[in-house]
Assembly symmetry: C2
Homo-oligomer: 165 residues x 2
């Protein structure tokens, strides 16, 4: 019944009993868990010649309503990265022929990003493996616990302004 974060909390209790370090019980575990998850997902992506950033862009385009066109600004909000990061992601994907960029007909500032047939095929190949990996990472939790966890995380997200609207 002990993990790294329990040890961390006990150590702080010894060294700085004057401080309330209880938030670390949640935030420390979130950090370790997402690090662990990202490492695992990265392995699956690599089997398809992808990295997390590329997969994210391709999947975001794939799930968007037909004709699967998104702007860099939309990709930026979806991925929670800076505009510079999106530009570079698109450079790499365009270089590999997985997406295309074309100017918007209605707004001169805007670029429209589209999946190429190769990009579409690649993400459809990678997606089932990715989902299998995600499922494996959650096997310890039954459906009820997953729903409860998802609900709590959503509350936190919304409280931090990450809601839609």
């Amino acid at each position: 019944m002990t993990d790294h974060v329990d040890l961390l909390l006990a150590q702080w209790g010894e060294r700085r009993p004057d401080l309330d370090v209880s938030p670390m019980a949640v935030i420390g575990r979130l950090k370790r868990l997402s690090r662990l998850i990202e490492t695992e997902l990265r392995r699956t992506f690599a089997e398809h010649g992808l990295d997390p950033a590329s997969f994210d862009v391709l999947a975001t385009l794939r799930r968007s309503p037909p004709p699967h066109l998104l702007t860099p600004a939309e990709l930026m909000r979806s991925a929670m990265v800076t505009s510079g990061a999106v530009s570079q992601r698109l450079d790499r994907l365009e270089e590999r022929g997985l997406v295309t960029r074309s100017p918007s007909p209605t707004d001169g500032r805007v670029v429209q990003v589209a999946l190429t047939p190769e990009g579409h095929a690649l993400i459809d190949r990678a997606l089932p493996d990715h989902l299998a990996t995600e499922e494996r990472l959650l096997t310890a939790l039954g459906a009820d616990r997953r729903e409860e966890l998802a609900g709590t995380l959503r509350e936190l997200l919304e409280s931090l302004g990450d809601g839609v609207g």
Copy 2:
């Protein structure tokens, strides 16, 4: 009652109704939440001239039992980064006079990392602000919900082999 992940799930349901994307309800939210949290924490660190990596090393040393000596290997396991990353973190901190490296007297392969008085003072200055930020990020959740959340996250961590021992 809707967040970005709810939209994501709905979109996949439209585009690929043949796939079970339910694991994304948990894993997608974990990803967004830890990204949001890291961005917020980074701001607090920057107020003290630190970044997440440097804070992590200083805090790990600070909470370790007196005389606050750790090896790069221990820091590596604690931070879940590669040995190369630890070497570079220590280079930067040593350069700034916040930690020292000295050879272990008992094992010629090992290096002992220690906080300098400056490093000790800096982490003790930054820590209360850091905890205040963490507390603020969790205000939406009462004590019971936090404990329940921490417990679920710990179960997941242990199921993935991140337990102690």
